[in-house]
C-alpha cells in the first residue's frame, strides 16, 4: 500500500469509527438503573432488552440508606431509575429528588394489588412518586429440629429456654416495631409512639438483649449461624428458610398472629430524567411490572411482584412460596413506615445495645 492509499484507508476507518457510535445512539437509549443485584439478573431482563431499543446499565446498592445518600449527594442527575423502599420514598420526595409516575406510560400498573393501589405511602398530594414493585415479609425463621413448637414474638421477650440461642436484626425500625407488636400497641400508634410507650419498648428490648446470641447484619451471616446451630430462632428474612431446607435442615417459618412485618420496594424516577430517556425508563418500568419479569422473579427470587400480572402463570407451589396463593395473608401485615421521631428510635436502639 502506498502512502496515499494508506492515508485514504485510514481516513475512511476514522470516518466509519465516528459514524458507528452515532448509529448506536439512534438505535439504543441507554438508561441507568440503581437497584439490588438480585432484581437485575440478565436472565430477568433479557426479554425486554432483546425486543426494545433500550440498553441498560446497572449499578448495585448494598442498603437503602446508601442509595439515598448517593442521590442526596448529587448522584440523581446520572441515574434514570432507583429502587427505594416504600417507607423511604418520603425521604426522596422531601428532598425534591423524584418526579411523579406517568401512569399513561405504565399500563401494567393497572394490575397492582389493591393494597398497593390504596397505600398512602410513596404518594404526595395524590401523585405517585414510588410505584410498588415487589414485596415480601420478614418472618420468624427457626430450626424446627431444635425447637419444640412454632414460636411467636414472645420467644424474644419471655422464658429462658432459648436464651443465648436467638438473633435479632440490627435495625432500629424493625426491632422497635416487634417490641411494639409484642406489647400489643396497635398499628395506628406504632409509628408515633409517645414517651411512655417508648419507655415500655426500651424496657422489653433490654430483656430481649439479654436473651440474644447476637444482632445480625447480613442475611448470609444469619444463614451460617442457623446452619452451625449457634442460633435456633431469629427475626429473619425468608431466604435462610429455603436455603437451609434445600440443604436438608428442618427449618420452620412463623408468621405471628400479632402481626408480620411486610416490606415493599418501589421503583422511582429521579427528577432530572427527561425526553427519550424518560420514555425508555417508563418502558422498563412497565416491563418490570409485567408478566414475564414477574414469573422470572417469582421462580428465581422467590419474590412477589406488586401486580397480579404473573400470578396465573405460576403453579400453586410457586404461589405459596411468595405468599400470593391467599392474598388475605396481607391483612395481618404491618407495612413499614417512617416514624416522625425516628432519630429518637435510633438513639433508643443504640442505648439498648450499649447497655
Amino acid at each position: 500500500m502506498d502512502r496515499r492509499n494508506f492515508f485514504k484507508t485510514a481516513m475512511a476507518s476514522v470516518a466509519l469509527g465516528a459514524l458507528f457510535p452515532a448509529s448506536r445512539a439512534f438505535a439504543d437509549t441507554d438508561i441507568l438503573w440503581m437497584t439490588w443485584e438480585n432484581l437485575a439478573k440478565d436472565d430477568y431482563l433479557s426479554p425486554f432488552l432483546s425486543t426494545s431499543d433500550v440498553s441498560l446499565t446497572k449499578t448495585f446498592i448494598g442498603t437503602d440508606d446508601e442509595q439515598f445518600a448517593k442521590l442526596r449527594a448529587g448522584g440523581a442527575s446520572s441515574v434514570d431509575l432507583i429502587t427505594p423502599g416504600l417507607d423511604k420514598v418520603e425521604f426522596y420526595t422531601a428532598s425534591d429528588l423524584l418526579q411523579p409516575i406517568d401512569f399513561d406510560k405504565v399500563p401494567n400498573a393497572a394490575l397492582l394489588y389493591d393494597t398497593f393501589k390504596k397505600t398512602p405511602l410513596g404518594k404526595v398530594d395524590g401523585e405517585t412518586y414510588g410505584i410498588p414493585f415487589y414485596w415480601g415479609i420478614n418472618p420468624i425463621v427457626y430450626r424446627a429440629d431444635l425447637m419444640d413448637e412454632e414460636p411467636d414474638w414472645s420467644v424474644f421477650f419471655e422464658g429462658d429456654k432459648y436464651d443465648g440461642k436467638l438473633a435479632m436484626r440490627d435495625y432500629a425500625l424493625e426491632g422497635i416495631m416487634i417490641a411494639a407488636m409484642y406489647l400489643g400497641i396497635p398499628e395506628e400508634e406504632m409509628f408515633d409512639l409517645d414517651d411512655a410507650q417508648l419507655a415500655e419498648v426500651k424496657k422489653v428490648l433490654m430483656i430481649q438483649k439479654s436473651k440474644l446470641r447476637t444482632y445480625w447484619n447480613s442475611i448470609g451471616d444469619l444463614t451460617n449461624l442457623f446452619a452451625t446451630g449457634e442460633v435456633v430462632c431469629a427475626f429473619s428474612w425468608v431466604p435462610p428458610y429455603y436455603d437451609l431446607r434445600a440443604k436438608g435442615i428442618d427449618m420452620g417459618m412463623a408468621k405471628p398472629k400479632e402481626g408480620v412485618i411486610g416490606w415493599c420496594d418501589t421503583i422511582a424516577v429521579p427528577k432530572g430524567v427527561t425526553g427519550d430517556r424518560l420514555d425508555a425508563t417508563f418502558e422498563l418500568v412497565n416491563y418490570l411490572l409485567g408478566p414475564e419479569y414477574g414469573k422470572k422473579l417469582a421462580v428465581g427470587g422467590p419474590y412477589a411482584q406488586s401486580t397480579s400480572a404473573a400470578r396465573d402463570m405460576l403453579s400453586a407451589e410457586e404461589q405459596e412460596k411468595i405468599f400470593i396463593n391467599d392474598l388475605s395473608v396481607m391483612d395481618n401485615f404491618v407495612w413499614k413506615k417512617n416514624p416522625p421521631r425516628y432519630n429518637e428510635w435510633v438513639a433508643l436502639w443504640n442505648e439498648v445495645k450499649a447497655s
Binding site: 445518600a69 435495625y171 446470641r213 447476637t214 432519630n343 443504640n350 442505648e351 445495645k353
Partner: protein
Amino acid sequence: MSQPVDKIGNWLALPVVAALTALCLAPLLILFVYSFFQVDFVTILHEPTFANYAKVAGSETYRGLIARAFGSALLVVGITAIIGYPVAWFIAKRVVAAKSTFLTLLLVPLYSGDLVRIFAWRVLLGAEGAVNRSLMWLGVTDTPFGGLLFSPLATHIALTYNYLPFMVIGLWLAFESLDDAWTEAAADLGAPAVDRFRRVTLPLTLPGLIAGGLMVFVMVAGDYLTPQLLGGASGITIISAVNDLFGTAFDWPLGSAIAWTMLAILMLCFGVGALAIRRSSFISEGT
C-alpha cells in the same frame, strides 16, 4: 546550585500536597463544619450550634461507647505489647539467616483480609468449633462452652491477633537499632538482668513501643467489624453508632460531632505519643 533544584522539588511536590489536602483534609473539614449544623428530617439546617457536641457530652450512651472504644484499644495495646516485645526481640537479636522469613510469616495473616480472619475465629471458637471440641475431648466440659464466641473475650482475642503484627514491626525496628554494646556495657558494670532491661533496653526501645502502640490503638479504636461479628449482643461500637446516624437516622451533624470527638481524642493521644518519643533517651542518645 541547590536553590533552583529545591524550588523544582517544591513545585513537583505541589500536586501531591494538593491531592492530600483535597482527599484527606477536605472531607474532614466538611465533617467538622457539619458537626455544628442541625437536621430536620432530611434537611440540614445551616444554623451553627454546639448542640451536637453537648448531646455527645450529655449522652451516657455515646460517652460510654467512646470510653469503651478507647478502653478496648488500651487493653489490646497492652496485650500486643506483652506478646510482641519478646517476639520482636527474638526476630531482631536471635534470628540471623531466616529473618525475612519470620517477618513474612508475621505478615501473612494480614493478606487474608479482615472477614476471613474473623470467620476463622468463629470456626475455632464456635459451639462446634475446634476449641470446644478439644475441651470436650479432654473431659474439661460435657457441653460446649457458649461464652467463647459472641463475647468480649472473642472480640479481644481476634483484635489482638489482627493487630499484633503492627506492634511487632514497630518494636522490631527499635530492636534492630539497639546497639548491643549498651547492654553489654551495663552487664560489665555489674547491672543485674532486670536493671539492664528496665534502665537500658526498655528506654532505648520505647520509641518502637510507642509507635507500634499508637498504630494498634488507632486501628482497634476504629474497628467495628470485629466486635460486630464476634462480640454478639454486646458488639456495638461507637463507630457502628456513627454508621447508624449517617445511614438510617440521616443525622449527619450528630454523626460528624461524634467522629470529630473521636478524632480530637486520637490527636491528643498522638500528641502525647510524639512528645514521649521526642523526650525518650533513644533520641537524646542518638543526637
